[in-house]
Symmetry: C2
Subunit: 422 residues, 2 copies
C-alpha cells in the first residue's frame, strides 16, 4: 500500500520553517509498512493545491495532507479536498461545540472565522484536535483515502498518534513496536561494527543506530499483526544487543536519559555525588540537575576554572599544578578527591581539559581531557582525546564523565558483591 | 522568475533525516526574489525522478535538485538530468583531478566508484565541491535551468554560497544582504508588537522575528542590484530597530551570542564575574565558559543546590532560609553578595527557583525564579515567572540571568559616567 504527503504552507516554501512534519509522517508510515515515493510542498493556492492533490490521488492509495486547516481565508486545504472528492461542506455540530469549549477554557470567545473550521466535508471521518481548533478528517474517496491534518507539529503529532495511526494500522493490518537500546562509553564506529551483521541481515525487525554525544542508540522496530506479535520479534534482538554490549547498555526505556540512569544508580546505592569542573564549566552538573528529584543525591558542585580556584576550593596542590599542569591526570585526581572530601560526598567526578580553540600545544593538544572519578575512596582517572569545536569537546567530556561515573559505581558494587560471595 | 526544488533521497522518504536543504534553499531563493510554488521529494528511482523532473521543468524557470550525486549505483540524479536534457555524460578532467586531490589530502585512494562522480553532462557549468567529492553542475536546457547540488548540507550550503548564489544573482539581477538585530530581555510578543507596523509594511527589506530562549532576533533582509544598494535598504531599518529597542539590542553581528556579548562587556570593563546557581545547576556558568578566552573574567562558580551548600559556600543566613525560603528574593540576594565576597569577584549572579515538575505550591508555583545580580557593591533582585518543562524553566532562567547581568553592568557604568559628567 502506498502513501504520499502534501504539506501545504507558503511559510514552508519561503523557508521560514523547516518541514519536520514530513519527516515525522515518513517515519511513522514507513514503520507501518506503507511505501512512500513522493512528498510535495505547495503553497496556500487552490489551483496548485488541486493540481498536486489530483496527481497524488492517481498514484497513491493514501494521501496525507498537513496544514491549511486554519480559520483564515488563506486556509483552503479542506475546501480543495472536498472539491476534488465532490463532497459539500456542512456544519459539523460536535466540532462547533469543541471550538466553543476550546475558547471557553481559555477565557476567550471565538471570532466569526473560527466557525469555518467546523465546516467539514460530508461523510468525512472527523478527528478531534485536543491541542487546537482545527479538527482533522479522513475522506474515503473512490481513488484514494485523504487524511487532512493541522499544520502545527504539536497538533499534528497528537492527532496522528491518537487517530491516524490506529486507522492506518487497521488498513495495513500491522502494528509497530520499537525498543531503543541505549549505550554509553562505546564509540559510534565500534558500536556499528559490533552490530553490522545484524544490520545487514535486517528485515523485520529493522535495526538502526543513532549517534549522539558520547552515546549510541540502537533502535529495533518490528511490525506484526498485533502488539504481541511485533514485540515477539523485537525482544530477541534486544536481548542479543544487551548480551553484545553488556554493562554499556544503560537503558532500554524511552524516557531514561544517561543522566537519569546515573541519578537512579546513585539513588539506588544511596550515594551522594559532587562535580568539580574546569573546561565543561558546569555542563556536567547541569545535566545531573536536569533530573527531577536530584536533590537526594546532588548537593553541591563547583566550577574551578582558574588554578587558584582549584587550589582554594579543592585543595589541589600547588606543586601538582606547577609540575604536571592544570590539564593532567594528577590534577584531575586531586580535584575529584578534594571535591569528595570538601563537600563530604560519597562520589565525585572531576573534568579538566583543553576545549580550544586556543591553548593547545604539541604535548597537550586541543581536545585533551582528563576525567577522574572517586567512589568511596577508590579513584580512577582516564585520559580522552576528543575532536571538534569547543562546544563539541565540552559536550563529549560531560557525557564521558557520566559514563565513567556509572562504570565506577557498577565496578565498585560488583567488587563488593564478589568479595561477599567469596 | 520561478524556482522549484527536487530533493532526491530515499532516506528523506523514510523520515531518517529532516529535509533542511529545502528550507535553506527556499529562504535563499526567496531573498533573491525568486518565486517558489512547489517542492518535491522523490527517492533514488530513475523513473519517478524523471517524471517529477520533467514536470518541474515545464512549470518552473529554474529547478534545483539536491542529493543523488554520490558514487554508488543508487545515485542517479545526474544520469536522469542528463537524459531528460539529451546530454551525454563525459569524463570531466578537472573534476577527476579534484577527486584525486581530495583523497590524497586525506591519505586514502579513491575506489573505482569515485570516478563516476567525474562523469558530467556535456556543456554543463561545473561547480567545485570543497567539502566532498561530488561536483555540482548547472545545465542550461531549453525549457529550464537545472542546478544539481550534493545532498549533505555542509557541501550543499558551501556550494550554494560560492557558486549558485552569484549565478542566480546575475540572472535575477539581485544581490541579497541581511542583518540580524539581536535583542535580550524583551518578551517575544512584546517585541512583535513593537515592530508590527514595520512587518505589516514590509516589502524590501523583509523583516522576520525569531524567538529563542530569552531572546528575540529580528532579521532584516533586502535585495538590490549590488551589495551597496541592498545594504542601503537594510541600514535604516536596523537603525530604526536599534532606536526602538535601545539597550536591549546586544548585537547585530552574526557570530555574537548573548554570552559572548556579556563576556565582552565584562572584559571591556575589566570585571571578574562569578555565578552561584541552584535550579539551573551550572547552565549559566556553562554558557559563559562556552566563550573562548573567558578565563580573564571568569574564575570560579558554584552550584549550591542544597540549603546547606548555600549557607556553607555563600554564607546565606540560616534565618533567611527558614523565614523566606530557599526560593526568595532575600536568598537570591545573599547568594549573589556571598559569591562576590567569597570568590573576590567584581560581579556575581545568582539563580534560585522552582524548576519543577514537583515542588511548587500555590504561593510559590513551578516556574518561580529569583535572580540577583551584584556589580561592585550594587545588588538588584528580580522575580520571574517562567512556564514550560523543567528544562525550559532552567534555560529561560540562565538566559534571563545573562540579560540581567548585562543590564546591571550597563546601568552601573552609565551611572558612573553621568556622575562624572555632572
Amino acid at each position: 500500500m502506498t502513501v504520499e504527503f502534501i504539506c501545504v504552507g507558503t511559510e514552508i516554501l519561503l523557508g521560514s520553517i523547516v518541514n519536520t512534519n514530513a519527516a515525522y509522517l515518513s517515519e511513522k508510515c514507513a514503520a507501518l509498512g506503507l511505501s512512500c515515493y513522493y512528498q510535495t510542498v505547495v503553497g496556500d493556492n487552490e489551483e496548485r493545491l488541486t493540481f498536486v492533490l489530483k496527481m497524488a490521488m492517481e498514484r497513491s492509495d493514501i494521501v496525507i495532507l498537513s496544514g491549511g486547516l486554519g480559520p483564515t481565508e488563506d486556509d483552503l486545504t479542506k475546501e480543495a479536498a472536498a472539491n476534488v472528492c465532490g463532497r459539500a461542506l456542512k456544519m459539523h455540530e460536535p466540532s462547533k461545540l469543541a471550538i466553543e469549549r476550546f475558547f471557553a477554557e481559555r477565557g476567550t470567545t471565538p471570532t466569526d472565522n473560527n466557525w469555518k473550521q467546523a465546516m467539514l466535508p460530508e461523510g468525512a471521518i472527523v478527528m478531534e484536535n485536543r491541542n487546537g481548533t482545527a479538527p482533522g478528517m479522513i475522506i474515503e474517496a473512490d481513488s484514494a483515502r485523504l487524511i487532512l491534518l493541522p499544520g502545527p507539529p504539536r497538533e499534528l503529532i497528537a492527532m496522528f498518534e491518537e487517530s491516524v495511526e490506529p486507522y492506518l494500522a487497521k488498513l495495513t493490518n500491522q502494528v509497530i513496536c520499537s525498543k531503543t537500546v541505549k549505550i554509553c562509553g562505546v564509540g559510534e564506529s565500534r558500536a556499528e561494527t559490533m552490530v553490522k551483521d545484524l544490520i545487514d541481515a535486517q528485515q523485520n525487525p529493522t535495526i538502526a543506530t543513532y549517534a549522539k554525544s558520547g552515546e549510541v542508540h540502537i533502535r529495533v522496530t518490528a511490525n506484526g499483526e498485533d502488539k504481541k506479535a511485533a514485540l515477539k520479534l523485537v525482544k530477541p534482538v534486544v536481548k542479543e544487543l544487551k548480551s553484545r554490549f553488556g554493562n554499556a547498555v544503560y537503558s532500554t526505556e524511552e524516557d531514561i536519559t544517561l543522566e537519569k540512569a546515573v541519578a537512579e544508580l546513585l539513588s539506588a546505592n544511596k550515594l551522594t555525588v559532587t562535580c568539580a569542573e574546569s573546561c565543561t564549566g558546569g555542563m556536567l552538573s547541569a545535566r545531573l540537575v536536569s533530573v527531577p528529584g536530584i536533590s537526594d543525591v546532588y548537593k553541591t558542585g563547583v566550577i574551578t576554572y582558574s588554578n587558584k580556584a582549584k587550589r582554594r576550593l579543592l585543595g589541589v596542590k600547588k606543586s601538582t599544578l606547577q609540575k604536571e599542569g592544570a590539564v593532567s591526570a594528577k590534577t584531575a585526581e586531586e580535584m575529584a578527591k578534594g571535591a569528595a572530601l570538601t563537600f563530604k560526598a560519597d562520589a565525585a567526578v572531576s573534568i579538566t581539559g583543553i576545549a580550544g580553540p586556543d591553548g593547545g600545544t604539541e604535548e597537550k593538544p586541543v581536545g585533551l581531557v582528563y576525567i577522574a572519578c572517586y567512589v568511596k575512596g577508590n579513584v580512577i582517572v582516564k585520559k580522552y582525546q576528543f575532536t571538534g569545536t569547543r562546544d563539541m569537546v565540552r559536550e563529549a567530556s560531560a557525557s564521558a564523565a557520566l559514563s565513567l561515573l556509572r562504570e565506577c559505581i557498577l565496578e565498585y558494587y560488583s567488587k563488593v558483591t564478589f568479595g561477599k560471595e567469596e
